[in-house]
């Protein structure tokens, strides 16, 4: 134990004795020549009978000042303007206890000197000494690193991260990416999980994430940015290994061009072939509207999905395309290809797929094929078809025969999938397809490592509080089982109250940026202290509140300006000042 709690000369004040101290909180009467500010970490030493020395650690949650001796509001003038009333200015601070050491829950003694926690004491206050793998995730008010216990993110003791905050200040995604950067750059902390760590990021708005591999020209404007990165132990640099994927443009004839606005270079177009759609059962992700589950559409969908996988046969010379043929008993032999008969419909995109399904469901004459529809009402059948037709219109360009253009998550450490141009239905389809693929892959391997992280903004769209959908079911599944399978969800949303509670509850690490005032009062944010809640309405971009299981109070931290560009205008040209500051 360092000596800094023993000499009273550098204390900031004393534990207040006019009210009870508790194991939860106490107040500090500050020395007139010193101060404490919000989020400062402090330590108090008390001598407890039969126990000896006890250290109480805490974080400042509020500071106050008052004229002692003033009884009435107008006394302020008597004291400050005319000086006829003797009074003493007293500054004080509220402290929420983070820890007692040794762990005997006894309130600190009144009158004891209070010290800023530094060095070993600071680490104790933040439980860093108990974290096996402390990963820096920002800096505190004192400019020193604040850590998360990685065991609670990567599945050892807990998993997933949830980020909430109002949109527009770009904090949620920024923090998620900053966190990923720490995760991918601090291999020394992450350990075995860092090897072959794969990250899947969806770009849902703007094109902010399409420049992760480019240096940010604005970074060099303030040397503080680089200093902060230094504290965090990471070289400020763009992501070294990123692959960008975007859906193809609709009108692209034969050439497949990614549908992005600002960036085309190094962006690959992705889509699925009808064969892939059928094999992976992606049909279900065409019916992800929460209202779909209320009628019998999922029932038909499941029938149709099953029938498609039985009936589909590859077409010779047309990779990815299929024809539908009545399977012989025992089914079509695997990997056979056929030549389409004259007049036989070749399924080479979503439109032809729907065209091929339609006769089974709604034949021009006669009854629907029960093997394809089951016993559902005619109205449900036409609702099903209506949705299929809508899907052709909205995401038809994502399904096309030809060489496989599915997203290769192994190509780079970070895979950015740009879905901002897609219709909501198509966005859900892509998210569903990729999550399913990731999760299934890990399920098959049964191994937690290598870790696979998924960053998904606007989580409330994919796993809303109300209703059910295949996508929501899968996200709930990931939230519940992903921890043990090494599939880690970094979910972001404006309002946690609109996201499925099952998904929220499973996030061990919770982060909040600026919140809407009404939202901040909701039960979802009950883990924040009242003072922190009040402040959450005022947080500036770059400031977050962090909660993790290993620390009983939320911490406020700031994370540094990114060294990667978030807009085309920020991209640094060669010979920029970027390197000079490093």
């Amino acid at each position: 134990m360092s000596d800094d709690t023993k000499s009273p000369h550098d204390s900031v004040g004393r534990v207040m004795g006019t009210e009870h101290t508790t194991t939860q909180e106490f107040r500090v009467a500050l020395d007139s020549d010193n101060y404490l500010q919000l989020d400062d970490l402090v330590v108090v030493r008390s001598d407890i009978p039969r126990l000896g020395e006890l250290h109480t650690y805490g974080v400042v949650t509020e500071t106050e000042a008052i004229y002692e001796g003033a009884t009435f509001e107008s006394d302020t003038h008597r004291i400050a303007a005319d000086g006829i009333l003797p009074a003493q200015k007293v500054r004080s601070a509220h402290v929420a206890v983070t820890r007692v050491h040794p762990e005997v829950w006894v309130a600190p003694d009144p009158g004891q000197p209070v010290f800023r926690a530094a060095g070993v004491q600071r680490e104790r206050a933040l439980y860093v000494d108990e974290m096996e793998r402390p990963l820096p995730v920002g800096v505190g008010r004192d400019g020193q690193a604040v850590f998360v216990d990685l065991d609670f993110f990567d599945g050892r003791k807990g998993g997933h991260m949830s980020i909430s905050g109002i949109s527009g200040v770009a904090t949620k995604t920024s923090f998620a990416l900053f966190f990923l950067r720490m995760l991918t750059a601090r291999r020394d902390v992450v350990g075995a999980g860092a090897t072959n760590l794969r990250v899947l990021v969806f770009n849902v708005k703007g094109e902010d994430l399409l420049w992760l591999d480019k240096r940010n020209a604005h970074f060099a404007r303030d040397k503080k940015h680089a200093d902060t990165w230094k504290v965090l132990g990471v070289e400020p640099a763009p992501f070294p290994s990123v692959a960008f994927w975007a859906p193809p443009r609709r009108q692209s004839s034969d050439a497949v061009v990614p549908d992005t606005g600002s960036r085309h270079q190094d962006v690959s177009a992705f889509r699925w072939t009808p064969r892939e759609l059928i094999d992976e059962g992606l049909l279900r992700f065409l019916f992800t509207d929460a209202s779909d589950a209320r009628n019998q559409i999922p029932f038909i969908e499941e029938r149709v999905r099953h029938q498609l996988s039985r009936w589909a046969v590859d077409v010779a010379g047309r990779p990815g395309a299929v024809v539908l043929r009545q399977p012989p008993p025992g089914g079509h032999p695997r990997r056979t290809t056929v030549k389409p008969a004259p007049g036989e419909l070749v399924i080479d995109d979503l439109s032809t797929l729907v065209e091929a399904i339609e006769p089974h469901i709604d034949p021009e004459d006669g009854e629907p094929d029960r093997a394809w529809t089951g016993r559902v009402q005619a109205g449900t059948l036409s609702a099903f078809l209506r949705r299929l037709h809508a899907a052709v219109h909205r995401l038809g360009h994502l399904i096309k025969a030809g060489e496989s253009r599915r997203i290769d998550r192994q190509k780079a450490q970070v895979t950015v999938v740009a879905i901002q141009t897609l219709h909501e239905l198509a966005q859900r389809f892509v998210v569903g397809a990729l999550l399913d693929e990731t999760f299934r892959h890990k399920e098959q391997s049964g191994q937690r490592l290598p870790l696979s992280a998924i960053v998904l903004d606007e989580l409330n769209k994919y796993a809303p509080r109300e209703g059910t959908s295949p996508l929501k079911d899968m996200l709930v599944d990931i939230a519940q089982r992903g921890r043990s399978l090494g599939v880690l969800l970094v979910g972001a949303q404006q309002t946690a109250s609109r996201v499925s509670p099952e998904v929220m509850e499973n996030a061990s690490i919770r982060v909040v940026g600026r919140l809407d005032a009404a939202e901040a009062e909701r039960a979802e944010y009950g883990w924040m202290l009242p003072a922190t809640r009040a402040r959450a309405r005022l947080l500036k971009p770059g400031t977050m509140v962090l909660s993790q299981p290993s620390i009983p109070v939320p911490l406020v931290l700031t994370f540094p300006f990114p060294p990667w560009a978030t807009r085309r205008e920020e991209v640094a040209e060669d010979g920029d000042a970027f390197d000079e500051i490093l």
Binding site: G69, D82, G83, I84, P86
Partner: protein, 319 residues
């Protein structure tokens, strides 16, 4: 059988509270009205700013902590009181426009009747009672001693601060032995010193004005200069509301006394208290009220002190 000391379980403040009233009775006071006016009609005079740098306001509080009894096998019960006195000063710095509690002292005394005196066991780290006695068996004499000690302590502090260069405003009449810049400040006007023909001048006083000086002596032994001053015009008040009486030593030459009166008259309204805050407004001055609150705190919690005394004394056999 030995003498024993007991703490009575009667509430300490039981019995008639003794209010200090050192006011000179008009019957015994010989008043000279024309020292300053020199025979001219009395007119209100405005105070003026004499550049006073600091004022020390003196006040004290006292409390009977416990009533005690010496159970003497021969004398029977001998009454006594344990008292606490706190007195101090607020110093107002004119330039810095700041007041500060500069002095605050506490004395604790045990006073016994019938010339008896026993040591009270120490009741706590700061609860040491110094014993003394009065020769009579009159219980009222006990509180008179308390009063006297208070006045002595306050007087001493006042003279000390005056020597340090402060203008001292003392609470109540002065003990005018020494020529010092100590102004006695009397809040309430129970005695009437002025003949009817001078009273209209008091009624005519505006805030920051005073009457001409008058001198009175008691029994011919010493003289004091005195004057009335108005602190504030009180809406719906009678002609004497908002008026205080001040006095200073008769050892001063007339012009020195005049100057002191003028400066004080100029300054006092600034310290007047507001009626909605202070029950004794405006006369109970703001710094004095604050000092009083502070001093009461210094006396310690009454119940706690009483309990500590009980515990310390509990039937203690006395040596």
């Amino acid at each position: 059988m030995r003498r024993r000391l007991y703490v009575e379980n009667w509430a300490p403040h039981y019995g008639s509270p003794f209010e200090a009233d050192d006011e000179v009775s008009p019957a015994t006071a010989e008043v000279q009205l024309e020292v300053e006016s020199k025979g001219k009609p009395w007119q209100p005079r405005a105070g003026y700013d004499g550049g006073v740098e600091s004022i020390a306001f003196i006040d004290g509080v006292r409390r009977i902590d416990a009533r005690v009894t010496i159970d003497d096998p021969e004398l029977g019960p001998v009454p006594g009181i344990c008292i606490s006195l706190a007195y101090g000063a607020v110093i107002w710095d004119a330039r810095a426009r700041r007041s500060e509690i500069a002095e605050a002292r506490v004395q604790r005394l045990a006073i016994f009747a019938q010339g008896q005196s026993v040591a009270v066991p120490q009741a706590g780290p700061t609860l040491r009672y110094r014993s003394e006695s009065v020769p009579t068996s009159d219980p009222a004499a006990l509180t008179t001693v308390m009063q006297t000690r208070m006045r002595q302590a306050e007087g001493e502090l006042g003279r000390e601060l005056a020597r340090r260069g402060h203008l001292v405003i003392a609470d109540g009449p002065i003990h005018p032995l020494e020529p010092a810049s100590v102004v006695g400040y009397i809040k309430s006007q129970r005695a009437a010193y002025l003949p009817p023909e001078k009273v209209p001048c008091v009624a005519a006083l505006g805030p920051g004005e005073r009457t001409p000086l008058f001198v009175f002596s008691s029994g011919g032994s010493f003289a004091r200069y005195s004057w009335y001053t108005r602190l504030e015009d009180i809406e719906h008040g009678h002609t004497w509301s908002g008026v205080a009486r001040c006095e200073c030593t008769g050892a001063f030459a007339l012009e020195d006394a005049s100057r002191l009166a003028d400066e004080t008259t100029f300054l006092l309204p600034r310290f007047a208290s507001a009626a909605h805050i202070e029950a004794r407004a405006p006369q109970n001055l703001v710094p004095v009220a604050a000092l009083e609150r502070h001093l009461r705190r210094l006396l310690g919690d009454q119940a706690l002190v009483y309990r500590a005394l009980c515990a310390a004394v509990a039937g203690t056999p006395l040596r």
